[in-house]
Amino acid sequence: MTAQAPDLRSVRARRTLWENTRRTLASAPFSAWFGMIVILIYVIAAIFAPWLAPYGEAEVVGKAYQPAGGEFFLGTDQIGRDLFSRLIYGARNTIGIAFVTTLLSFAIGGTLGVLTALKRGWLDQAISRVVDAFLAIPVLIFALMLLAVAGKSIINLVLILALLDSTRVFRLARATALNVVVMDYVEAAKLRGEKMGWIIFKEVLPNILPVLITEFGLRFCFVFLTIAALSFLGVGIQPPTADWGSMVAESKTLITFPVRTFPWIPAPFYPAMAIALLTVAINFVVDWFLHKTSGLRDEK
């Protein structure tokens, strides 16, 4: 058996991963390319922030609201920190926090969702009822309360948002997994006596992955917006950490009332545009991905 395997492969060489990727990318539409390039730029900015930013994240380098151009590329903020530097560090913090939060929420929600779909029974009932209750409480207000209980720190913020988000992920994962667990190959695995972990990660997860990845993209973006809203209400990321959502919230009065030093584009527009652009980019990629994996036939 094992000896024949190489022969089979030599008959019709399988495409390497690289080749597969190349072929897939070559067929990507413009919007997906645009999205990927934008995401790449953001990731680079996030990783290399300390080298790219001309000044420190919290460093006070000039007077408040110095104009754009000259010494400060985009001017300075309300206490004289370089806006451009904060925008770059913001990429690191915003994306980092959103990424960890989303990952965590998928780890919790996804695992529990698949597990309950497989197990059913009282565990499923209990978890589903608690999740229903969580879903029925407004996210923003619940996050506000939990943050007040736990104390405002980045770790608490990440944990709380991940917990609240995981209930949404749970619902989706469970619903999607329910369609998969009735398949013959899952039954077969159960009959073979495979361990639960094996069934979850080898049989069910690969088949619900496209749906989860799509959701991941959307959830990821919603985390920025939730943090922005929390910052607006006075909680959220704590200064002096640069975070786009908080940066928009901090300079909210400048939206309707642009200070003279920002004659063309008022300060809050930069972080807002940074959020919007990334969200659009991610959605473009997600749309394309969804299109590819769902095998939607959209003729013409």
């Binding site: 919290a58 006070v60 007077k63 200064p239 939206i255 309707t256 009332f257 200070v259």
Partner: protein
């Protein structure tokens, strides 16, 4: 020419606030080529634009909550204070625009027995909104509301020195205090202590909103608005000009500014400092700025290491870049502090020397005296203490590095800040809205046994002077005592007084007013009673 015009306008503004006299103004006007007659008329116009009756006055206030209630013992802030006290009600006394205490519901008051006994005469024949005459019994019931075992009032501690209150005839109230207090009339001017009608069962009727003020309550929706109509029988002459008054709770500063710009309100408090220049350039709007008694401070517990060493305290005081913080975080709106909690406009205030300004070299010197090369400590802050507490602390941290001081800024939660952080953590951000007298301020926060002694500072000489000054009737001697106390606090206390904050407010150009009071925001919270429309 424009520059001169600008200066003249500025001087006019000063004149209105009583800081520039007519002579000073006229001299400036003459120097800039304005005729004497024109200068005179300009001054007169600015100073005393003839008050006119009428108009619907709408104010946007940056406070107000759905939990606000008519109970004056629980008035938390400017919204309830201005609407339900300054517009609707009167206390026994009031603080006038010059910071002096004058009678309000009380016509006169006098002390005897070393200021231990106070006799207040209630103004004759004044009435509540329902027509009932105000008597001494009403006054006693109103103040009794804050006392007693079950009182929930914020004014309970203010009145704790009251041993007894008695009516002596329909118009006289006699207070016996536990100790002499020459400033007692100031205490009863507080906005938590309006005079309200007594009910038949002896308690006071705070629920109905029937008071004595220039306006009657029309409708109060907690957290949304309070509206009023004119009280035609108001006893103060030349007060209460508007037909109707409405206070709107607009907590978001951008929304408040926009409401003023679009003409939906005529007065707003707590302007956004970042965009103030834009607001000032609007031809229909006047921005006013009053430095009050309020101050933003950082307080250390002097009983804890390392703050138990006076040299460490002094080093810390010299490490704070007050001017920088004032310029960047508060955009210049305020006056730098000098570790003296008494505002310069308060009677008996002094400016202790040497001034505590940013001086890393001196800070290092004091650290050496304390036997240290460097210093590191935690500083607990939250914007619940005052807006800008966090930004200020971060700036301080940056600049204190030069003095070898490493400040670890900890941002605490806003919720429960006064509970869990203030008076609990060793070094915290705090504020006082200030008090109109030296004694009141010092007794509240720096006396050894004060409930709010947030520096845990117990200086024997200071406390000895505090008690002695209360019953000292010789003004000069009292002034000397107060000067010494302020100096001791400045040199030895655990208080870092960063700055006295300004009340920055804005209003429509067609509003007229006299000299603006500094004791509270919104013209001593009595803007509705004191202001008028000029057109």
């Amino acid at each position: 020419m424009d520059e001169i015009k600008h200066k003249l306008n500025a001087a006019l503004g000063q004149a209105v606030r009583g800081r520039v006299t007519r002579r000073e103004f006229t001299q400036l006007a003459l120097a800039s080529g304005v005729s004497l007659a024109a200068a005179n008329s300009m001054f007169t116009k600015a100073w005393a634009d003839e008050p006119k009756k009428g108009g619907n006055f709408k104010v946007g206030v940056g406070h107000g909550a759905t939990t606000d209630s008519m109970d004056p013992g629980l008035y938390p802030d400017q919204f309830t204070g201005t609407a339900l006290w300054g517009t609707l009600a009167n206390s026994l006394t009031e603080i006038d625009a010059d910071g002096n205490v004058v009678g309000d519901v009380a016509e006169s008051f006098e002390a005897s027995d070393g200021a231990k006994k106070w006799v207040f005469k209630v103004r004759n024949g004044i009435t509540f909104h329902n027509g009932k005459t105000v008597t001494a019994d009403d006054v006693i019931a109103s103040l009794q509301h804050h006392l007693g075992e079950n009182s929930k009032s914020a004014a309970k501690s203010l009145l704790k020195e009251v041993a007894s209150m008695k009516a002596d005839g329909p118009n006289t109230v006699v207070f016996e205090l536990t100790g002499g207090n020459a400033d007692f009339p100031y205490t009863v001017s507080d906005y938590h202590m309006p005079i309200m009608p007594k009910k038949d069962d002896g308690s006071v009727d705070w629920e109905s909103g029937i008071r004595t003020g220039a306006y009657k309550l029309e409708k109060f929706e907690p957290g949304v608005q309070a509206s009023f109509t004119k009280n035609e029988n108001y006893y103060k002459p030349g007060k209460g000009w508007f037909d109707t008054v409405q206070f709107l709770s607009i907590k978001d500063v951008a929304a408040r500014t926009n409401a003023l710009l679009s003409g939906e309100i005529q007065y707003m408090d707590r302007c956004d400092l970042k965009t103030l220049d834009q607001l000032k350039s609007n031809p229909d709007i006047t921005v006013s700025e009053i430095t009050g008694y309020g101050h933003y401070i950082y307080v250390m517990n002097v009983t804890q290491k390392p703050f138990d060493d006076v040299n460490v305290r002094t080093a810390i005081k010299y490490s704070m870049p007050r001017e920088d913080i004032l310029a960047t975080v508060f955009l210049g709106h305020g006056t730098v502090g000098n570790d003296n909690p008494i505002a310069p406009t308060v009677k008996f205030a002094v400016d202790p020397q040497p001034k505590h300004t940013y001086d890393p070299a001196k800070a290092k010197e004091y650290l050496k005296k304390a036997g240290l090369d460097s210093l590191s400590f935690d500083l607990s802050v939250a914007d619940a203490a005052f807006a800008g507490a966090v930004d200020s602390a971060i700036l301080w941290k940056e600049k204190a590095k030069a003095a070898g001081i490493d400040i670890n800024v900890i941002k605490e939660p806003d919720d429960g800040y006064w509970d869990n952080v203030w008076l609990k953590k060793p070094f915290v951000a705090s504020y006082w809205s200030g008090r109109p007298t030296v004694d009141w301020m010092m007794t509240t926060a720096y006396a050894a046994d004060a409930a709010w002694n947030d520096t845990f500072w117990k200086n024997p000489r200071f406390n000895e002077l505090l008690v002695a000054a209360r019953s000292e009737t010789d003004e000069a001697k009292r002034a000397a005592m107060y000067a010494e106390m302020q100096q001791i606090l400045h040199d030895d206390g655990g208080l870092v007084n960063m700055l006295f904050n300004s009340y920055v407010e804005a209003h429509a150009k067609n509003l007229g007013h006299g000299k603006v009071a500094a004791n509270w925001q919104l013209d001593g919270m009595r803007v509705a009673e004191r202001w008028w429309f000029t057109s």
